[in-house]
Symmetry: C2
Subunit: 299 residues, 2 copies
Amino acid sequence: MTAQRRVQILEVSPRDGLQAEERTLSTEAKLELIARLADAGHTAIEATSFVSPSAVPQLADAAELLGRLERKPGVRYPVLVPNERGLERAIAAGANDVAVFVSASESYSKKNLNRGRAEALEGALAVVGRATSAGLRVRGITSMVVADPWDGPTDPKTVVDVGLRFLDAGCDDLSLGDTVGYGTPADVRRLLEAHAAAGIGMERIGLHLHDTYGQGLAGVLAGIEMGIANVDASIGGIGGSPFAKHASGNLATEDVVWMLDGMGIATGLDVRKLAATTKWMAGQLGRELPGRAARALNG
Amino acid sequence: MTAQRRVQILEVSPRDGLQAEERTLSTEAKLELIARLADAGHTAIEATSFVSPSAVPQLADAAELLGRLERKPGVRYPVLVPNERGLERAIAAGANDVAVFVSASESYSKKNLNRGRAEALEGALAVVGRATSAGLRVRGITSMVVADPWDGPTDPKTVVDVGLRFLDAGCDDLSLGDTVGYGTPADVRRLLEAHAAAGIGMERIGLHLHDTYGQGLAGVLAGIEMGIANVDASIGGIGGSPFAKHASGNLATEDVVWMLDGMGIATGLDVRKLAATTKWMAGQLGRELPGRAARALNG
């Protein structure tokens, strides 16, 4: 008997989800969200972001939240850091697990990071270096890996080059973000094949797909068929980038878990507990959430 | 150079879509919908249903609609017929292409057809016999092929047995309906493998998946990987069964076409024209429609 296949889901709702919401949750509500997610079985929860509070006021309480967070044993709580200053703030607040991000495309880099792609990458690599020196776990996130709404299709080679630099600098793993959700399973395959050809193992790659065009879950299926074991998702499908107009809707965690449950792939997650948390979250945010399985389970 | 792979999409919005809507469209609006669909490249459009007008008042104008329909050359306009009386009405109205349906599960058969599964199948086979004798093209639809909300999982063997009976009776092809959208890619594979093992070729099978749990497109991907070349979809994701509470949301045509376009698989459809029709349809129905790609394209 072979061991059951396992996929690790990184729950991004507390950060990538909440950063794009009109309504800002209280620190208490965020802590409750994170506790509920851990209770549903999550072992990797992107807790918050140390970006500038003026850019993302929804997450201005990052330091307070991290300070008050009751860490459940066996659960990782990565936080996003945009630059060295953000890294310092994160470390001061007790972070031991961070994510650094760049854009694979020029236009989004300028809009989101106020710097061109090459310059932003050098800055990010410096942050990776400092974080790994400080003993932190580091993930390297690349966004717009399939296309950019202004620049058009992204060359997979560009994404691979960024990934190699991230790994060389000491990143533990990579996240490939199709920020605008243009990608189909063919794009996912092409991208992963390019990484494999460059010697980057599938076990070091996480897929971060959006459901803007309804393609998220099909892309995850394609990735899993190629050996991917790390997937980003957000309960109820909340979130997206406040800087990319077309980036509505992360892939809903419950939709992913429903699929993986049905395929006999273990996630350690309880889809009904997740759906209950989505229902609670919809109440907190004052809007209906787009994820399908949660609606069906709560309906 | 090999020929480009092709997938035929059967557009079900005029029938399966509209039958579940609160608002009943005028015959004119339905004819405009069908004309728009053909203009976007559809070559198979489920036009209406000859079920009892008291059961589905939204489609009470079936005979008038079919009589007034301007048939575009190269386009099929199948209609649903529930029984011999419906078949007679359809033939009298000019139908030359019909679909006959049964449920693979007992409870849904009783709720939807007021008859047990076995009895309903015998009735359906008699309709298939009369329709083929009259020279009509006939599709055999089986619903609840993955699970039934009251009975639980459906045995793939049951679905295959129904399919074999349908084909023996003269059906040209089969439609496998996961009416409640429970199915994951693993279910699709299991079901198709069971059909292949029974000697039913993939070219005779159409997949009719629902997006209730967000699984529709991933299931289509799994089916296409196994050789399926016929997929049912509904613009904007409108529709579902008015008799099955949990059956919200057909798979949106634009989401399927976006995926197939990206995978280099031909459908003959113009996704932007489809999205424009979805926008118009949302206005006609007075509600926002759930399909993702149309929202993104219209947004």
